[in-house]
């Protein structure tokens, strides 16, 4: 981030120079006014001398006051009028105030400009960071299954294997391909969603059948990983959303739950739903690795992959929950996540506008 560093230094330099300039203006004005007052006092001293000479020469006091309006004559003696000092002090204050306000405004405008540029640079840095994360993610998420796939194929080529071993390797390769396929879909989804390039329908979607379809696809995986998948969705609930988006949201939530439960060697996932006012809420509760309550905010960020407390590896791709959040935002719904802490399971809730009871 060379450009940012350079900008930081330039901005700092500009602020310092501006502060020094304003200080110089104030000092210069102070100095100028002191000089003016000095000159004025000298002039008045001379006027006093002249007035006293005129009075001594018998010129009437009124005439002297007319000739020298800054002086007053009391008891036959000339003195400086009280308003003169006050006028000079007011002039000094006015000039100092003018420079303070102008300088302050100047500094404020400068800081505002710097803030705007800073924001732009920060946004650019964020984009670069996101791109780096994306590359790191693609590296890790693709190269690992790719390495596993290559390893399985080369094992088949190099070694003499029993039919059972061949079957295991084939299953492993299929899993690797599925992982890569899922990753490609998620990346494409997330890119489309983050750029807003989606045209979502709004129609009544029966939630029970939408959830049932997705759960059915995960049942075998859940069974293999000793995970009990329980679904309790009232048949009459309909949400106002895009059917494909509902499918993606439910799929990602259940997959996230499976990924969280698998590292602890099995457990339970409960999918339930209820009507709440004008919304229909879907809750996916798991007995998996959970997360620190402080990480709640990070969960739905793009590329955030929380470390599983049970040590089963980083679970997830870092995109699933981001996709859920974006789709729910576009559907006018909301998302929330809660966990009592690492190792204590988690609950993810999403809510769509209700399409009415049937």
């Amino acid at each position: 981030m060379k450009a940012t560093r350079l900008f930081q230094l330039t901005a700092l330099l500009l602020v310092v120079v501006s502060v020094l300039t304003v200080c110089w203006w104030l000092f210069d004005q102070q100095h100028y006014m002191a000089q003016r007052m000095q000159e004025s006092r000298q002039l008045h001293a001379e006027q006093l001398g002249a007035a006293n000479a005129l009075l001594a020469a018998g010129v009437p006091a009124e005439r002297v006051e007319q000739l020298l309006p800054d002086l007053t004559i009391r008891e036959g003696k000339a003195a400086l009028s009280a308003s003169v000092d006050a006028r000079l002090a007011a002039e000094r204050r006015r000039r100092l105030n003018q420079y303070l306000w102008e300088g302050g405004f100047f500094l404020l405008a400068l800081c505002a400009c710097i803030a705007v540029i800073w924001r732009a640079l920060y946004a650019e840095a964020e984009v670069i960071k996101e791109q780096d994360s994306f590359l790191a993610l693609v590296s890790h998420q693709f190269k690992t299954p790719l390495a596993s796939l290559q390893l399985s194929l080369e094992t088949m080529t190099l070694r003499t294997l029993t039919p059972e071993q061949l079957r295991t390797l084939t299953e492993r390769m299929l899993s690797d391909l599925t992982r890569m396929e899922t990753m490609v879909s998620r990346i494409l989804d997330s890119v489309r969603l983050s750029r807003g390039r989606v045209d979502l329908k709004r129609e009544a979607v029966p939630l029970a059948s939408a959830v049932g379809r997705v759960v059915g696809q995960f049942e075998e995986r859940a069974r293999k990983q000793h995970i009990e998948l329980e679904t309790r969705i009232p048949q009459d609930l309909q949400v106002l959303a895009d059917p494909l988006a509902v499918d993606v949201v439910v799929r990602n939530l259940i997959e996230n739950a499976l990924n969280a439960v698998a590292p602890v060697g099995g457990g339970k996932i409960a999918v339930s739903s209820r009507r709440s006012g004008t919304e229909i809420e879907l809750a996916v509760r798991d007995s998996g690795v959970g997360f620190r309550p402080a990480d709640e905010g990070r969960l739905f960020e793009k590329f955030s992959r929380l470390e599983s407390g049970a040590g089963g590896g980083y679970y997830g791709t870092g995109l699933g929950l981001y996709i859920v959040k974006r789709l729910m935002q576009l559907a006018g719904g909301r998302v929330a996540a809660h966990s009592e802490g690492v190792g204590r399971g988690a609950e993810f809730r999403v809510a769509w506008p209700a399409a009415g009871l049937t």
Binding site: S139, S148, L151, E154, T155, G311, Y314
Partner: protein
């Protein structure tokens, strides 16, 4: 060389890749233990030991580089073969600086992986065998003393020197042939293997480090001498003339 009977700790968080690697290592006759978490890999060494660690870089808990550094810091000098999704040179150098012995970028060829595993075990075997006799376990020269088993030494000024595994191995290779020229390529081959480093300059850097540790005047070395364009020569006792050249 047969890899029979060696014990390998495989630290990989991806269960499918870990299973594939473990099966292949077992098929080579190695005893394989697996861990999927960086912290647990470090803990594993509290009660166990092995001949080789195959270490993934991106791990939960703590990454592979940190695991390697933690192990080296507590004196575990078991060779490490890094596996990583990143294969850029900077990352490669980071891995080797962390104390790794070799580095393999994913995806890799099974035969290359096994070749590297065998090469590391062979080098480690050579080091252990060559330092096994009591007489060969310690090197004394010009007031310096090096214990090849403990990877520790004491320099001429009494300062304690903690050697890295590579420094100890280079010193061992040089000390095996006192007074003879050992080429940089030879050192690379014996200590690292084939194509781990992009250039032989790496050897030069390690020699500089050894000079700093054991030479009275590292700028005018008397024990680790450069032979221009060829390699290095180790002289146990000071020669009347200074170095024959600088790298």
């Amino acid at each position: 060389m047969s890899a029979q009977g060696y014990r390998v700790l495989l630290v990989e968080d991806d269960p499918l890749l870990a299973a594939g690697l473990a099966e292949n290592l077992r098929a080579e006759g190695l005893n394989v233990e697996t861990e999927g978490d960086g912290n647990r890999a470090v803990e594993w060494f509290e009660h166990s030991s092995c001949d080789l660690i195959v270490l993934d870089v991106m791990l939960p808990g703590r990454d592979g580089f940190e695991v390697c550094r933690a192990l080296r810091a507590r004196g575990t000098m078991t060779p490490v073969l890094f596996l990583t999704a990143r294969g850029d040179p900077a990352d490669r150098v980071r891995g080797l600086e962390a104390g790794g012995d070799d580095y393999l970028a994913k995806p890799f060829h099974l035969q290359e992986f096994l070749l590297r595993v065998r090469a590391i075990l062979r080098r480690w075997d050579w080091y252990k065998a060559s330092t096994a006799p009591a007489a060969a376990a310690t090197l004394r020269f010009a007031g310096n003393e090096v214990d090849f088993h403990a990877f520790r030494g004491r320099s001429w000024n009494g300062e304690l020197q903690e050697l890295t595994e590579k420094e100890a191995m280079i010193l061992k290779v040089l000390a095996e042939k006192p007074g003879e020229i050992v080429s940089r390529e030879d050192l690379l081959e014996r200590v690292w293997g084939y194509d781990v480093f992009p250039s032989t300059r790496t050897v030069d850097n390690f020699i500089l480090r050894l000079r700093k540790r054991f030479e009275r005047d590292p700028a005018n070395p008397r024990h680790f001498l450069t032979v221009w364009g060829v390699g290095y020569r180790f002289v146990a006792e000071s020669e009347p003339t200074a170095a024959e050249g600088e790298p």
